[in-house]
Point group: C3
Chain length 639, copies 3
């Protein structure tokens, strides 16, 4: 088993003369896997039905001759201009009715039958031609499933999906609470996607559209996968993308891919990017059910905050790559091999920059390529974590609606905040689904789980009963999966487990805070909380809630359930969770009796780590202590 | 006569089992009026022409049995989805041409004949069925008339309205100054609503569209009112709504309703909400011509600033309710009785919160219900005020155009600022229309009356001549009702009365200010002002206007007219108006020889008020002095 | 030869009785040129084919009788409403598909054949009727060519333009790098304007649309010019407008007008407006190839920052007018003569304000009118400058795309910054095109010339070789005219000339900066720079680039080429350029042996200037020294 090193390779942008140099440079850099074809549709089928595979044959042969494996992509994320001419009905429509035009990428609606047929067609062509090419290692369907659309074709599919989900209009009307604002549906055809309307949209309609869209994208993926599987047994994947807008239920999709693969572009510079790296990697491992996964894309040289590229400092790219691998990635791949000469992403940083191989950027790629083989033995091992944070994309979608009591409520921010507390202590956590088996965890943290199913609530109760330690954050347990409030007092589904009852929310202004009697403070949110059968751990001090409970604990069965009714400052949170600061990212992986300890020093001081064994990069023996230099890293195998 | 206590009741959202508990809880809370049916169209007419009145029959009977009166609403503010299917032409269109879809509320264009027919139809059905139901106390047409539309059907109606207003295109071309930018109209059909265009819109076209729209909404209201009046003599109202966007000329509409009713949702937290409460209540009384009116909706538990709900502190809901009643409301009603389980406004605070009746929220509602009957005797009395502030919605609309010399000019802010000066002194003011009879007032304040008719100018002159004290603010008197500048020097229509002439405006930057020789300062705006026949009261000190007049006074006949050419700081304004600070909101009402004094203490200290008589809440005798505790209130009757 | 004084005159907004007063006031103010007809289409052709020239005959006769010349405009920038009724297809469409309506100005698409025919038609009518009117001095085509459109008619023209530019789709696909994101075009009809699309647009498509649009507007201009030229030999111009959005390649257009004319509305208050005045005037002179040009419009009384009018302080209007004239304008004209009574720009400041002639505003206009004749002798002289800054609108357009490595890169800001350094020293610079003959300049400054043609690069090399001093700013030389990166290291086309190689960009955050070893600092941007054959002048100090070169110099032939890899603070830039501060704007003009020195004191202190000759305003003899008072100006002729 080896670790993958390489990235997206787009030879169609370059003269064939460059291809030879590419393979030579790839070999120098130890590249062993490249993704080919992601944006090649117009090169492979320049006019409708006219195929040109010659160049791709040549590229695959060249790569194979160079010993480089290929992850071959279906190019369906970017249909050629002629497709839009033949299928104007497949151009996407925004929520306010603008039909987009070709001229970027991803200009299709996945609900358009014409698109689906064309996508299956090109996938079939590729599968037929290359399924037994010796370079082929993996299939890569599409790219970053992520578009959305509100066209009439999407409306038709949405209605079918709703009919399946609800069976009857009565059930739908109840689930959507259409009695409010006179929205009762008398006919399935009256239902529209949540397009631009006069005022606030129905929140369940909004949530169901998000659910529907993930399912529809998945159906499109599965159609292509079926074409590939028909002729090939190689693993099939697609690259998940995660950002402020996520149209896909990754946890659900993970069951349908042979390898969970993610693209990861942190959008903060500085240490924020490191937190995001760990966060994304842990999420990917969560989706993958703890199994190894694959970092399919990262940027070699920069972090883009949406306004500019922050160039990665020397060493950062390697540390970030190691962090991904430590947390379960089967390698470190990049977008893209060679920086484009033109086009919309010509300044997207690449493995070979505009300056060419004579550059720090390429040198670091070569260095990474020399290190990875020495770490190959970790590839199949498991990451060790005894803490889990719950993550549920449906809850996030639910909280992206416009109906909440405070627009500052932010599910992603709440989960990131929980993860950050452990990150700052250098500790590794897993992400788990709300209805997962949590019994292996010492501690489970539940940030703002606004939407919760009955099953998930039962699951949490069982976990505590059996001895688990559960910490539940504010604004949890409020609604069921149809966004209907669980009445009688918040946190609805969890009141009994937590032994509390919340009478009323007290949202805080963005620049406000509320003191706690322990000396810390809360931000963003507070609640008028009653400790019904719980013990009070901390209280609000001052303000309208002066003296009322803020944090409670409730012993249940063999375990304990805490409730935290505000967003805690970092120190208070760390104290509650029993954490202390460390700049050393420490991740342990294990197979049988063997443990590998990844030590990545993000600080500006050397750190001495207590560890024993063999350091894999240097091969040196470590006797109980290892000094990890500032900005450095080490991987130690202990028998 | 009693005071109304209650709110919007939406039983269609709940199981019939809940209805019985509702009536029981209403009785406990002393509720005596509920508004039913506002959003019931799809429940009453689930499919076109298929009516289901059974549930409403049952609800009205239950309420009547519980001794609770009903304000029955026509549900026309939210047509059912099937209506949009049958009348796609009635879906509203934005100024940039987006046709909205169903999925919220208010998705109709009031100019669509299909909508008007349907609205009259459902009103007729309701009137026919319930006109003699014993629970019925009032009719409530529609809800918060407030939508706008730019569709072709609206264009047709707009042209008809213009033809009526102007008679000829020559007159319209002159009024709109179409000679500028080559906009001369040669045909009525060339005229469009002020849709999205290349650059700045014609300001008079914009203003006329606002006027037209108010008239068109009024016509729609009157059609429904006629249906109700045909079979019932009960009072008919509609709930006015007031915010940053007001499509309705309330002063004009007031003549057409039997009771002026308002919904009031202050959008600031803290003391701002209290100022807004007084402001809205005084405006409602002004529209009502001084007669009692009705607070139809307020939020029981929160203040929504557009980003979050700020939960009302203990006691605030009662103080706000009392403030409304002090200023003329016939009661204190709420939206809504029971917090929705789902839907877009599930977190809109309610009389019965999600936590249920076992909550501070509901307890406060019950407390209020116990107090109101003791205050019933004030219901028909008049509010006493000897100061008026002018308010003119047309002036506001005019200043919402894009043509002004400074985008920081803000009519509403200027009027609020004037009102705030009196509020901070605990004094009560009336709002009056510019052409009203002002003779009963000691003092009249005119904030930024940019647009002024000849009649209004004459009215102000007559007021001063007869002995009135008039304070006119900057940027007043500039244009006539067609937005044509009154030439020769600002403030145009008022130069003679004020004895001044403004040569040029000097707008100030948002973060700038200009010192005054008195020690105060001005913000936002200044003017190059000449005291032609007026006396200079204060001067600019420093800056380009150094030494020039800033405030003037002019004795005219038996009265005096002041001019203030900048936005004064609060202290300077208070000094000019002879006001001093008080945290005690004091409002007097009178009938014949009887005076009722409302005392509401918004401060954090007890206040001693000089008052004599009987305190109505406690029934205690007051001998010359009453201590009103911090956050408390009292109502004292003096013979 | 005289200097022009006057402005836009829109008599159609006023009663004929006012016209007589206008001419009388114009005479009092020394007005000698007015622009008539800019917005007169609906007055001249109130209905299709029905002309009314009577009023214009009368106006022109009145002006001629008053000795006032006329710049007669074709009114094609604002077609009448009836035109839009007859040609709905000519209403412009935004990038997201909104078709605009009439109701402002400029609501036409210049690609609509119906519009082009109508525009030629009204131009022909005017030419035929007035070509020999004795008042006529100049033709003024259209107004501020500046609209854009994305309609289907524009798409057709765009494709024609592309076909001419590229000849084949293969060439276009290469130029646009369509191999990226699968955008390869198989048919010309697949190409669209850069309308709203899913994600980032193709940057070369975007740039070509800007180029195309300038060419299309120019074609429309030339059609009208041909109509006028057919019957008249008088000069033909159009008024260029310059702001954040500039759809026209002025340098290219300048070859087609008989007089370069600009409208100039600085959008900053305070000293920023003075810098902008000099900047705009120098640009106009650059477009005009150094020849005198004409300030066609400025605002008499205010500076509009987009949010408000900042009233010009006493004396500022005169200083701004003199600054324009010093820098080559043949006069100082205004928009507009008389402030409108109504319409969208009623508060646009004017020569005769709403207050009337009895005003400081008009008095200053009269004063200016008395000064200008004394300066007439400068009209044909040349401005003296030995420094040039390069300016290229195509580079600006290229940098307005969305593909750059930092969205804070701003071509206009970079050029303004370079110009400001000289402005603050009171020194005059020229603007030159990148491929101009630069041999007459001592120094040439090249701010962020991102896009550079091979020819321009060769031109700069030749300039240095022959002894020139060249200072090149960061982010220069990167791409060719098709936006394809020049590979191997930045600044691509200039690496050899500068003797440097940039390996990687290091964009800085907006609030960040990087220290320099000289003590100054850089903002916005930095680069990993190697001094290959250049000498290091300054280095980065601290941060990731600590110790790396920041500024270099390279001796080449008889000259020197500097490279500056960051945005320097003002002091460091001034030191590098050998400049020192002065509040005295000094501009020299020359004809043969005669020199005129304009001295404009923008400071708050008197400045003594070393100058000798005759001061033209006062006629006084100056013997070696002249005291220019704070806010004052002087013009000294030296033999």
């Amino acid at each position: 088993m080896s670790l993958w090193h390489g990235g997206d390779y787009n030879p169609e942008q370059w003269d064939p003369a460059v291809w030879k140099e590419d393979v030579e440079l790839m070999r120098r850099a130890g590249v062993n896997l490249v993704t080919v074809g992601v944006f090649s549709w117009s090169s492979l089928e320049p006019a409708p039905g006219e195929y040109d595979f010659g160049w791709l044959d040549q590229v695959l042969d060249l790569l194979h001759d160079g010993g480089i494996s290929v992850d071959l992509a279906t190019p369906t994320a970017s249909p050629p201009p002629w497709f839009s001419r033949l299928h104007p009905e497949a151009l996407p429509v925004t929520a306010d009715g603008v039909r987009l035009t070709h001229g970027s990428r991803d200009t299709y609606c996945v609900c358009a039958p014409g698109y689906r047929t064309a996508a299956r067609g090109i996938a079939r062509e590729l599968a037929g031609r290359y399924h037994d090419h010796p370079a082929l290692a993996m299939w890569h369907v599409h790219n970053e499933y992520g578009t959305t659309c509100y066209c009439d074709l999407a409306a038709v599919r949405f209605r079918e999906w709703l009919r399946t989900r609800y069976g009857s209009l009565d059930r739908l009307n109840e689930a959507w609470t259409t009695a409010f604002w006179s929205q009762g549906y008398a006919d399935w055809t009256d239902i529209e996607p949540p397009r631009k309307t006069q005022y606030l949209v129905n929140p369940t309609q909004y949530l169901d559209y998000r659910r529907f869209w993930s399912d529809e994208l998945l159906a499109a993926f599965l159609e292509q996968k079926a074409e590939l599987r028909a002729v090939s047994e190689l693993p099939v994947t697609t690259n998940f993308v995660f950002g402020g807008w996520v149209p896909v239920n990754h946890a659900q999709w993970a069951a349908e891919v042979d390898v969970v693969a993610i693209d990861h572009y942190p959008d903060q510079a500085g240490s924020g990017a490191e937190e995001q790296t760990a966060f994304g990697a842990d999420l990917a491992r969560g989706w993958s059910g703890g199994k190894p996964w694959l970092l399919m894309e990262q940027a070699a040289g920069g972090l883009n905050d949406g306004r500019r590229w922050h160039t990665k400092e020397p060493g950062r790219m390697a540390r970030n790559s190691l962090s991904h691998i430590a947390r379960g990635s089967r390698g470190a791949l990049f977008f893209q091999w060679r920086a484009s000469r033109g086009g919309a992403e010509m300044y997207h940083s690449a493995m070979v920059p505009h300056a060419g191989p004579d550059s720090r950027r390429f040198t670091e790629i070569v260095d990474l390529g020399s290190v990875l083989p020495r770490l190959a033995e970790v590839a199949e091992s498991n990451v060790v974590a005894d803490v889990a944070i719950l993550w549920d994309v449906e809850c996030w979608w639910a909280m992206q609606g416009t109906h909440l009591p405070s627009s500052s409520l932010d599910y992603l921010a709440a989960v990131r905040s929980a993860h950050r507390h452990f990150w700052h202590a250098g500790e590794t956590v897993d992400f788990a689904a709300p209805d997962a088996d949590l019994s292996s965890y010492r501690l489970v943290v539940v940030p703002s789980l606004y939407l919760i199913s009955d099953a998930a609530a039962a699951c949490l109760a069982a976990y505590v009963e059996a001895g688990g330690q559960l910490v539940v954050g504010y604004f949890s347990g409020i609604v069921d999966t149809e966004l209907r409030v669980r009445l009688g007092g918040y946190p609805g589904a969890l009141t009994e487990l937590l032994g509390v009852r919340v009478e009323e929310f007290h949202p805080l202004p963005d620049d406000g805070s509320v003191a706690l009697s322990s000396g810390g403070h809360g931000r963003l949110w507070s609640e008028h909380l009653h400790a019904v059968s719980a013990e009070v751990v901390d209280r609000y001090a001052g303000g309208v809630l002066d003296g009322e409970p803020a944090i409670t604990r409730h012993d249940v069965g063999a375990g304990t359930a805490w409730y935290v009714s505000t967003e805690l400052d970092d120190n208070t949170a760390a104290r509650l969770l029993g954490l202390s600061r460390s700049s050393l990212e420490t991740v342990r992986r294990r197979t049988g009796e063997t443990t590998w300890t990844f030590l990545i020093n993000h600080g500006e001081q050397e750190v001495i780590a207590p560890v024993e064994g063999v350091e894999l990069v240097t091969g040196a023996r470590v006797d109980g202590e290892l000094a990890v230099p500032a900005g450095g890293y080490a991987v130690v195998r202990s028998a």
